[in-house]
């Protein structure tokens, strides 16, 4: 065995050991601490960013919802800002309880790395931003285009794959920083800018005349982003998973943070179960029976947190697209509460 392999094995053994030691105790430890340790991004428009000394964003709101579920108080969180490189170790080592940091759900992360993805908060994918003047309506028309792309990322790989598959000619210009590529697009050094769609909207705001640019409808890669927990604690996994499902179900049933008290009088059995008026579905999680209602009241349903952070209520103005509910042409679907 070479030294690297030995090292990796030892590390994995240690991880498994620490995972086992944690089994079934995450929730107890959290209740003892009095707060949830949540890992977020160190700065990503709309997903997590600092404003007036507070964290904000869709990833941050997911953590708030989990805190509301456990404590009935969305402020009982300790945020740990993490870079892309340290995020998984922080979760594996127990430094955080849940990672909510635009992390793509992939097979290797879900298996070998000892993590569990609890759902998808945002269906992202690589897209294209172009100037309206070019009159392009589809990515298929991009033959021979000069494309600005961030160097050394999977984005660059996806781009060349897409152009090769569609037999189009490609001239890539690579950049290190997203600010540079936005400036290049503006100066006309490239015709198209490619990145994850959620980032393209942020790039667009940086331009002097954002309205002159559009994001093309094609998405050329799958990047489902969601919260992550450690292997080995199924109860905690269930709580985080169902917090998200509750928010999606609430939107589907028309329950939001403003009408939740009123909706408690609803005759719809689905709503009654969701809000803990009927049955004791909440207790099954080891939480208060009405925790789902508390989450909706204090943080909001999925539509609310989407619109507030990245949608029409934010400067980003991202369309729901894939993130619309399943019955409205999107992919957001949650199992029923019953």
């Amino acid at each position: 065995m070479n030294p690297l392999k030995t090292f990796t094995t030892v590390t994995i053994l240690l991880l498994t050991a620490s995972g086992a030691a944690h089994a079934g105790t995450t929730l107890d430890a959290i209740k003892k601490n009095g707060f949830i340790k949540c890992g977020v991004s160190d700065g990503l428009p709309g997903f997590s960013f600092a404003e007036k000394g507070n964290y904000n964003g869709i990833d941050v709101d997911v953590c708030r919802a989990v805190a509301a579920a456990v404590f009935g108080d969305p402020t009982k969180i300790k945020f740990t800002p993490l870079t892309a490189k340290e995020r998984l170790t922080a979760l594996q080592s127990g430094e955080i309880d849940v990672l909510s940091r635009n992390t793509t759900w992939t097979s290797s992360r879900d298996s070998a790395q000892g993590l569990n993805f609890t759902g998808v908060t945002y269906y992202d994918g690589q897209g294209f931003l172009v100037n309206k003047k070019l009159g392009i309506k589809s990515a298929k028309q991009l033959d021979g285009a000069t494309v600005c792309v961030q160097a050394g990322t999977t984005t660059e790989l996806n781009l060349s794959d897409y152009f090769r598959t569609n037999k189009m000619k490609l001239t890539p210009i690579t950049y290190d920083k997203s600010d540079e590529s936005a400036k290049s697009l503006e100066a006309g050094r490239c015709d198209v800018l490619t990145s994850d769609q959620s980032q393209l909207y942020a790039q667009r705001i940086k331009l002097a005349k954002p309205d002159e640019y559009i994001v093309l409808p094609e998405v050329i890669s799958k990047e489902p982003l969601g919260p992550v927990v450690r292997h080995g604690d199924d109860d905690w996994f269930d709580i985080v998973k169902w917090t998200l499902f509750v928010m999606v179900n609430a939107e589907e049933l028309g329950v939001n943070s403003k009408n939740v008290e009123e909706m408690k009088k609803s005759t719809n059995p689905d709503v009654k179960r969701l809000l803990g008026v009927e049955g004791d579905k909440g207790k099954d999680f080891g939480l208060a029976n009405d925790w789902m209602a508390v989450v909706i009241k204090q943080v909001g349903n999925y539509g609310e947190i989407f619109e507030r952070n990245v949608g029409q209520g934010s400067p980003l103005k991202i369309q729901r697209g894939l993130n619309a509910l399943w019955n409205q042409g999107g992919l957001q679907y949650a199992p029923p509460v019953r």
Binding site: A50, E51, P81, K85
Partner: protein, 368 residues
Amino acid sequence: MPEPRVPHSNLPPPTSTTGVVGWLRRSLFSSPLNAVLTLLAVYLLYVTLPPLLRWAFLDAAWSGEDREACRSGGACWVFIRVHLDQFLYGFYPDEQRWRVNAAVLLLILGAAPLFVRTVSSKFKVRLGLGLLIAYPLVAFVLLKGGMIGLPVVDTSQWGGLLLTLVIAGVGMTAALPLGVLLALGRRSRMPAIQTLCVTFIEFWRGVPLITVLFMSSVMLPLFLPAGMNFDKLLRALIGVTLFQGAYMAEVVRGGLQAIPKGQFEAAAALGLGYWKTMGLIVLPQALKLVIPGIVNTFIALFKDTSLVLIIGLFDLMNIVHNATTNPAWLGFSTEGYVFAATVYWLFCFSMSRYSQNLEKHLYTGHKR
């Protein structure tokens, strides 16, 4: 009979060597090459300066509350003004910020007598040592809380300039004594101590700071028992101190080597032991010699604090970066980074000026 010698009245010097014209000839156009270089420099200034001034001052937006105020095309200083609190205090809770101010004020008041020439040096030494021991404790209690009725403010909420100063301050005050000890150890005649110090110094000088920080934040937690975590800031502080301590050791060693053997022998002749020789005779001279080197290391340390952004600590640099990702303020990263650069420059430049001042003050004739 020779005529009496009547001296000619003094002539004025040729106009070409006095006044503005003379200065221009001497300094800017003394040779054809210099003339060309001067013209080139003037041209470069002409090309770069007006747009820069227009961007930074004339077209800049100073007042307003949101990005709508920044449509002029110039710099958007509103972005800085709106985020200033965040840049200074990070996530430190609003109503607790007086504690940070109090800690800073306390340091200024406590350290002020050290900078006054008329205060006796004996008092200065006592005050300095007292500050060195007491201030970190007082500041820690003030900032962290949890005692004497102050609510706890977790270190994960510390940020901005506060965090930069904490890292730089702790790094500097801990690295200098550590460096002195290591330097003495490296010159020690005891093989065990010497080997230990050499190994330590060479190890820490051989790895980049970014690796040290990265190891402390990514690898260390994996080797600790489950559930045991120690503070991220503390890990960074230890990393920075050990790293800069090794550099400081080499700077101090340079000073120790410059002290002539006669000084050691004279001390021995007076019957002084090792610590008294070092403390009273050698170190005061050695440290004085290497003030530029020490301050150089301090300045490097101050700037290196910005590396903690790779382990997700919100120092000044990272908090500025974070503010540029606020959707309401996208696209103002240039202003943010210019602001951060100005703050770093102010601190480093003052340190450098102070060290020059100190050198002049401590000048006792060793310079030729």
